[in-house]
């Protein structure tokens, strides 16, 4: 028995070893270096965009690929910051181009490790043009400081290239339902009687967004705080220097609660918490209208249109916006909330540099603008959509284009912040204990 097995086994072993050989050879050759090795002809790009945004980006890339002959290997990756962090720690390959990190600590850390390359290097002599063309708030640290970690400026050098912008805190309405004037102040807004226009409630809101639920709520409260207490308080709050239980922030929460109270919001708090942000505005277009207003950013327009294909909603004629009303402090009215999409370069290759240069041009960003649903980062783009034209004006005329607070807090602070907004919406009586809890989280989050 054993001799037979021995014969069979030596054959088996030979086969096995041979197989192992082939395995090693193929595995080593066929699979390695998944990204583009040769750096003048290929570039790897990661983006968080999917669906329509991804398609817009692909439209932007097409002319680049055909004119330069460089192949762009585009990958949608929702988790890119974490993966890049892992890659930096493990010393593995990084993508050539990907969004920059939002956590200020990570920005500093990655720059000091040399993981991100300066935009000055990428753009070369086009850098000056980039600076003068782009909205200043996105490229220039306030007060001439050498660092602004929120826009990727460290030691006077830039590490994030801005390509798209959105304006937030706009009050959207259905023009066929609401034909009144834009309210001059927040108290005027609250005083509007929806039944006069045939709607059941004043506001619509939807805070659900999967793993990121709560971010629309934070947009709402950010827009309140920046106009109520000013940009200094706002910025120091982001930096963890102003407590959540402070008067300014507490007042912000209390004002926010007015926007989501059962008396003012469609469907009551359960609906607000269960409705996905993309669908939150739908009641505005139903008959009878469920509500008059939705506070959201510029990107919401495509969601209005896709949810009601039969209505064929047109920007400007069917729906429009007015800017967030003043909170009564006129010196803070110039504070506008915006956010931007950016790219950083992680591998300095000729192909990557070319792509970075291309994305900073007016031609590239015009394609984005034409595809709709967004503003570019360049000031002088043409917008055919009347709504976006006005939004660009809002962005251009803002005294301070302030970032969204939660996005730039340490991520555990942001998470607790978003959850606190959901919790107080669910249970307004818990405000004080939520704020105290947030102070605790703040102390732990900013210290280490």
């Amino acid at each position: 028995m054993t001799e037979v097995l021995a014969r069979r086994s030596s054959r088996a072993l030979a086969l096995g070893l041979g197989a192992l050989f082939v395995l090693a050879a193929c595995g080593g050759g066929g699979g390695s270096s998944g990204g583009g090795g040769a750096s003048t002809t290929d570039v790897t790009v990661w983006t968080a965009w999917g669906g329509a945004e991804l398609k817009a980006f692909q439209d932007v890339l097409k002319p680049f690929e055909s004119s330069s002959g460089i192949k762009v290997h585009l990958t949608t990756n929702r988790d890119s910051t974490n993966q890049i962090a892992n890659g930096i720690a493990a010393g593995t390959d990084l993508p050539d181009i990907a969004p920059g990190p939002t956590d200020p600590k990570q920005v500093k850390d990655w720059v000091s490790k040399g993981a991100i390359k300066p935009i000055e290097t990428a753009l070369g002599d086009q850098f000056q043009a980039y600076i003068s063309n782009t909205y200043p708030a996105l490229t220039t640290p306030p007060g001439g400081a050498s660092d602004d970690l929120y826009i990727g400026v460290v030691g006077g050098k830039h590490y994030e290239e801005m390509v798209k912008t959105q304006v937030k805190g706009l009050i959207w309405y259905n023009k066929k339902v609401y034909n009144g004037d834009a309210p001059k102040s927040f108290s005027d807004l609250l005083a509007i009687d929806p039944s006069k226009y045939g709607a059941s409630k004043l506001f619509c809101a939807g805070f659900e967004s999967g793993a990121a639920s709560g971010w629309p709520a934070s947009d709402q409260i950010d827009n309140i705080i920046m106009r109520q207490s000013g940009d200094q308080v706002y910025t120091s709050w982001i930096q963890g220097k102003t407590k959540f239980s402070s008067d300014a922030i507490k007042q912000g929460y209390q004002t926010f609660l007015k926007e989501v109270s059962p008396a003012t919001v469609y469907g009551g708090t359960n609906t607000v918490l269960s409705t996905n942000f993309a669908k939150a505005g739908d009641p505005m277009f139903k008959s009878p209208a469920g509500c008059l207003f939705l506070e959201q950013a510029t990107f919401i327009t495509s969601f209005f249109q896709q949810d009601f294909p039969s209505l064929n909603l047109k920007a400007g004629t069917d729906f429009d916006f007015f800017a967030h009303p003043s909170m009564g402090q006129s010196q803070y009215d110039g504070n506008v909330n915006g956010f931007y999409d950016n790219f950083s370069m992680y591998n300095d290759t000729p192909a990557a540099r070319k792509l970075m240069q291309y994305m900073a041009t007016k031609d590239a960003q015009q394609i984005w603008a034409n595809d709709g649903g967004t503003l570019g980062a360049i000031k002088s783009l043409n917008y055919t959509d009347p709504v976006f034209k006005r939004a660009a004006d809002v962005a251009g005329s803002a005294k301070n284009l302030l970032v969204t607070a939660g996005d730039f807090m340490p991520s555990d602070m942001q998470k607790a912040f978003w959850q606190s907004l959901l919790n107080v919406t669910n249970n307004p009586g818990s405000l004080n204990s939520e704020l105290a809890h947030l102070d605790q989280v703040q102390a732990a989050a900013y210290s280490s």
């Binding site: 054993t2 069979r8 086994s9 192992l20 066929g30 269960s274 959901l422 809890h437």
Partner: protein
């Protein structure tokens, strides 16, 4: 995006065929060598030889990282020095046991531990026993097993449609709330409401796991010889008594194995909570807590959570080892 190259297909086929062959060769040739050795040496070299591949893999992918994890749990979050603060180097553990968020996750994990485990095994057992007695057994088993191959993302999509909430008075799109509206009851915001959300998530977990328990228990159930059952029936036992006094004790080893797996799953639960609520409204569990700590670059705190989780399992394993030892004595 790249297509599949013939290269890769060859590699895969080689792996599928080659690895078992290599292992075969390893065993056979190894044994040829070992059998030639003196008996005393054989006795101890052989087990290590056989277990080497498994242990080797486990070491690289699990043991070494685990050791590193334990060490990290005592460091500060930049890994530049040992942790300081309350309880000294145990600062991260102190954080875990005193911070309200982590305590909530601990409580929720205990809820999962008790209810998920009990009901998944219980339903699995009952269904296995019941369908054994009907002709459409195969179809019924497939039905209950259906959720098992579904990924967490798909399961969360499915249950989002079940739990969907529309304002009272509007047409309900969620199945559960639609049923409630038929009964003239207001819709419930299952995932938001503090009294229902943990139960809802745990139920989704039970829903996905019962099929697994059922399949494994059913296989063992089939192995119970019918003579034993006949003998019991002839002795006058009714069906309930047979299940309670004959079948269940015979299935007990299998139930223990399945139960252990379920307990470990309960402690590791991540996907369902993460995808459906992201831990919001106090539905956080230990694994999601740990994920968040990692996301926020608090590697040392995440490490402490991991260690606590591991230590929680050890008593369970000791129980299992004892059972194995009993098994050995019996044979």
């Amino acid at each position: 995006m790249a297509g599949i190259t013939p290269d890769q297909i060859i590699t895969a086929v080689v792996a599928v065929v080659g690895v078992p062959l290599v292992l075969l060769g390893y065993i056979i040739l190894g044994e040829l060598v070992i059998e030639r050795l003196p008996d005393s040496v054989q006795g101890w070299i052989r087990p290590y030889f056989w277990a080497l591949p498994a242990v080797g893999f486990a070491t690289i992918f699990m043991v070494y990282p685990l050791i590193r994890t334990v060490i990290i749990s005592f460091r500060n979050s930049d890994d530049t020095d040992w942790a300081t603060g309350a309880w000294g180097a145990f600062a991260n553990y102190h954080y875990f046991f005193t911070f309200p968020d982590t305590l909530t996750s601990l409580r929720n994990s205990l809820l999962w531990l008790v209810f998920y485990t009990f009901f998944a095994v219980f339903f699995g057992l009952i269904i296995a026993i019941l369908v054994d007695r009907v002709r459409y057994e195969t179809i019924a088993k497939i039905a209950v097993f259906l959720p098992v191959p579904i990924s967490a993302v798909a399961a969360s999509i499915i249950w989002k449609f079940m739990f969907d909430y529309q304002p009272p008075g509007a047409t309900q799109t969620g199945t559960l709330n639609a049923l409630l509206s038929v009964a003239h009851h207001d819709p419930v915001a299952w995932l938001v409401n503090a009294t229902t959300n943990n139960a809802a998530l745990i139920f989704v977990g039970i829903w996905t796991a019962t099929g697994f328990c059922m399949v494994i228990i059913s296989a063992s159930l089939k192995a119970i010889s019918s003579e034993v059952l006949e003998a019991a029936r002839i002795d006058g036992a009714n069906e309930f008594q047979i299940v309670r006094l004959v079948v269940t004790p015979l299935l007990w080893p299998t139930i223990t194995v399945v139960g252990t797996t379920m307990i470990i799953n309960a402690l590791k639960t991540f996907d369902i909570v993460y995808v459906m609520t992201n831990g919001a409204y106090n539905t956080d569990v230990i694994a999601t807590q740990m994920f968040f700590q990692l996301q926020h670059n608090h590697n040392s705190r995440a490490a402490a959570v991991g260690v606590v989780l591991f230590l929680a399992i050890v008593p369970l394993l000791v129980v299992n080892i004892r059972r194995f030892q009993q098994q050995e004595e019996q044979r």
